[in-house]
Subunit: 371 residues, 4 copies
């Protein structure tokens, strides 16, 4: 921990964003074809260590299938439009086409008018199951108690509990606090939980029995947590810190390896590569997938923070569409700007630095240099 | 104090702006409904620790009432248009509508043509009193001798002495220097005084008997003190330094707690949150309120520095209007950019980091990271 | 000296630009009317420590008079248009009006077609003398041998030898190197020489007998030395270093005080204030004066580097015109952006920090903070 | 090595780009005419230490002649259009004129449709030989085995093996890895190889028997390696590190001096000067030459990374044309922005700091300062 004096007795830790770090090639190189990007969490194996974020602009029952076909895991947000409306296609188009000024009010309206529908949730899970993919769904911390058991019973294979900050120690005097530990124990499926951003917060989440923790807070391209709440956690530092917590917990738990999943702040394949270099086991990606022509966002992107009724902490962003989900994930790329062939880029970066698997690649040498 | 060598034997202290710091969430969270943002200065209690700056674009007798209804304190500038003109409504409109090039000359003309009128001042105070709010007024250091006693006699409950730099030790060979200590002693109401920016300057102001000190100098969005005078004091460092002086003075005085009030450089709710995190007890805000549709500035914003006859150190800025004062202060927000629901954002930031009151929140962990 | 490792065994000193530093107000303030900005070099006394740079866009025989009337010193470039053409008025207009692309070729043509004319030089000096001002002229290092004695004989009272880098130790195998020491000894008038940027280079220049040294290299707004030569010397560090050399030389010489004159990189009154805070005794200013409506550049600005026949290291820049030379120097300002009332701004900055003369002001506290 | 903690146990080395460093003039200056920029590699002597990069936008058989006439070395890419097509003139024009969106697909098509043709390669080398210049050609690491011997046999005098990262230790389980050491031993001509970016990688390349190593990776103006792969190596640090490796290898080898050649990230003459100051013996330049009106790129610029079929890591960039190759290299410059008279600028920078040859100039003092 390197603390700097802000003033008086107030100190702050120097945190590095992914923009401020880079990979340094070294003395060895390797054939890109001999590199493995395989990732395994619990009993589930994936060719690609990417998780499509539970955002309505990215994951629909249909895009989930395409994403899975590309070797990645797609997570459907049960509290999104697909859990509230029978057929949200027209609503998605409305969101994509409305003017920037009207986008936040429209999101606030659409997500508050229709409540989450348990019947619809079961239907969605059945639909995902039918398509033959690993069924992963997300709920908010507030929605966990009601929705997670329903989802698991309906066949969800992986449950993601995702909020801007999820802590293992939520204080509430009026309501019942979310007891993550007992929830996760009771659910019979692996749980991924987050975001968190410090080693200590991550350690507490690991102790709840989670299979993976999401690292991030307000760094995503469509979030404005820094502007609204003043909360910002530079991702390179956050990932490296949580990776250190993973090692501590490995020792403390006598060998349970909790996956560190970078979530947000990765706008290009270069950013994704750096996240792995900092210690991530997998990357939850949103904006990069929303650039696909067949992403449900139709050229726009937003997260659940953007539809908060009283204090939205995100905006609907227009995204430059670059190619299909297939091309974005596995190429071929027709652009050289880090927005296409994300898997190929990760593979090439590993090859260029001589590493053959992701675990090894976490040891790659890094450079710190202004953005 | 961390000094760096600029060159030769010249050293400078490394100062951090609010842009360079951020809040780091930690292992605990809390319900936002269980957070208190209450602030008490002297006998006056407020639900909201915000003070509307004594600027004509922000506080009029009418907006003061609206701001107070939102739980905050509004300070009317006795030397502004309301202390010079019977009805400045048309002048405010003229300022809002004139071209950028003509704005400074127009301000110079309007504020110099009509002198401050003691009768008008008494009327304004009566008007504020009638509306049932805590009556707070501001004078410049130069105007203190003449205006402060009149204001106190007329019923002002809090007096703010505000200048770009106010020192406890003003040197003047020709005129009588402002003896802050005796003035503050003689006034029978609590006095808030500033700006200052260093621990030592703040300590001297605290010794004058002030109830609160304003921290800031040239950081406001409409000020240009850095361009004109070369004076710039990064707010995160300034607040943390003055907070340290507060603790020293608490010991020295045997327990008198002087409020540290961040003044300026806070353009979003995120900035405001960071100011509290650095040690502020309250925040004097201007530009964020001038974005309200019912702020007197009519979509523009300026401070008293901007109307100086020979050396203006500010400009009239056009501000994007975002919603009513009610919405700006307490929401609901229809934008996710940190310009609306300032109270809700502060509350949410405290909840996200697990703190229940402002004093505790001053201990929150911070991150230092390039803007 | 704080060196950082660039790589391998290569180290570099961390240098600070004026943008990275600022003045910090402290516990004392003072009436601006009780501040002295007087500056004395040799037998010449000035109310204002500003020297108008020997640039054709700034100093003509006519503007020199106006500048002097404002208490400053104006230096006419003997190798500029006024030393080459009988009446350059039309040429100045042509330069001001030609397109950006054509400006460099036009400057190259105009300054090479007509040689410097000794008769014309004597005439210019007589003209300046007649107007009753202190007669100061500039020559290049290359032109010194031929022009400086002529100028002194014709009545120049101060001679400035100014080049991008002037060293006391110029190596030349073919030509005769400029022996500054003997030239300065032989000239019977005070000589100001530069630019230099390091303590050691400055010390050598001080030993030549110069009355003042110019600090700067490629920092001016119209220079492109960094882009062309890779040479950049951040001014805050350069001034502070040379100020330290001044103190060393004061001891070494048994009391000869050589003036440190900041030259370039000062685009606003705030920058000028910071230069004094870093240790400057006077400031040579160009671009800020070229913004005057009665500056000869007619809304454009260029230096002698811009007209080099083979390797121009500057460009003609368009400058926003803000007011008359009188207003730019002594106000009143009708803008709040640091471009007007330079003297008033310096005076106010000194008053705000409680200092009464320039020598004292060199001790003011500074802050280091990103631009 | 100065390492900073990114987070947890992850450290990164602080690397400096050329933008962050600058040359500091010192106490001595020199006549520019008495400076030598001569460079010798193996038996080949050049007046100018510049190597035109093997990029189709820069080096054609015709531009190679012009570049050589200016004292520099031009390297033809044998795997570029000239090694694939009889007459690529129309194709070059098509590339220059197509829209930005279509550029990458067009490059992918043109470079994949026609294979490299051994007969054509021999013809090109004969053509270069005929024009009387030093014949230098480039191959990719992958193409080395097949093409390098053919080229050497056909009369190539210098062979450049250039890839984004070339290591002495390439791991391949399926194919035969490139054994650089035996290839270089078998080729009877001096070999320049790279890029590399760290001291250790460079040391291994030096041990292969190479006459020179290219320093750089993804820094060129047309590359996007940072965005795509997350790989970025700030050039100032990389050059200084590899220069340190050169010294180590000099000792280890008992006196073999391997040339350190900066490759990329040099967009102006100022950048080139800094590269030499950091320790480079020569500079391989691309974008600065592509700005010439007679460069084959016709106002556009691209590298071999840009035409990769699946993962392009570069783009075709539009370049502002500034003058002829003669003017760009040796002036006269008609612009003051560091794009013309590169040789003159290097010469002037050396003179300004008092150095007489490039080896000495590597000791020049440097400043570190934000870009």
């Amino acid at each position: 921990m390197v603390d700097v004096v802000i003033g008086g007795s107030k100190q702050g830790r120097r945190g590095y964003s992914l923009d401020e770090v880079a990979i340094a090639p070294h003395r060895r190189t390797r054939d890109a074809s001999e590199v493995s990007t395989a990732w395994t969490v619990d009993a589930y194996k994936f060719d690609t260590p990417f998780i499509a974020a539970p955002m309505d602009s990215v994951v629909s029952p249909i895009s989930a299938k395409t994403i899975s076909n590309n070797g990645a895991l797609a997570v459907l947000n049960l509290e999104g439009l697909w859990g509230r409306y029978d057929d949200p296609s027209l609503l998605l188009r409305e969101i994509a086409q409305c003017s920037p000024d009207q986008a936040t009010p429209l999101l606030q309206k659409l997500y508050s008018e229709a409540p989450v529908d348990l019947g619809l949730i079961k239907e969605r899970i059945a639909q995902l199951k039918e398509s033959g993919i690993t069924v992963a769904v997300a709920v908010s911390p507030q929605g966990t108690a009601e929705l997670a058991p329903v989802a698991a019973a309906a066949g969800a294979e992986i449950v993601v509990i995702r909020g801007t900050t999820v802590s293992a120690e939520h204080v509430s005097e009026t309501g019942e606090p979310l007891n993550l530990k007992s929830y996760i124990h009771d659910l019979d499926v692996p749980v991924i939980v987050g975001g968190c951003a410090t080693a200590q917060a991550a350690l507490h989440l690991m102790r709840t029995g989670a299979a993976g923790v999401l690292v991030g807070f307000g760094g995503g391209s469509s979030h404005t947590t820094a502007e609204v709440l003043g909360v910002r956690v530079p991702m390179a530092t956050a990932i490296a810190d949580v990776a250190a917590a993973r090692r501590d917990y490995l020792d403390e738990s006598g060998g349970r390896y909790v996956h560190v999943i970078a979530d947000g702040s990765m706008g290009t394949s270069g950013d994704i590569v750096k996240a792995f270099a900092c210690g991530a086991d997998a990357a939850m990606i949103g904006s990069v997938l929303s650039r696909a022509t067949d992403a449900p966002g139709g050229g726009t992107h937003w997260g659940s923070e953007a539809w908060h009724e009283k204090l939205p902490r995100g905006e609907r962003h227009a995204m430059n569409q670059v190619g299909t989900l297939d091309q974005v994930l596995n190429g071929p790329a027709t652009r050289g700007d880090g927005t296409m062939n994300l898997v190929g880029a990760l593979r090439k970066a590993m090859a260029t630095t001589g590493y053959s698997d992701l675990k090894e690649f976490q040891r790659v040498e890094m450079i710190v240099t202004p953005a």
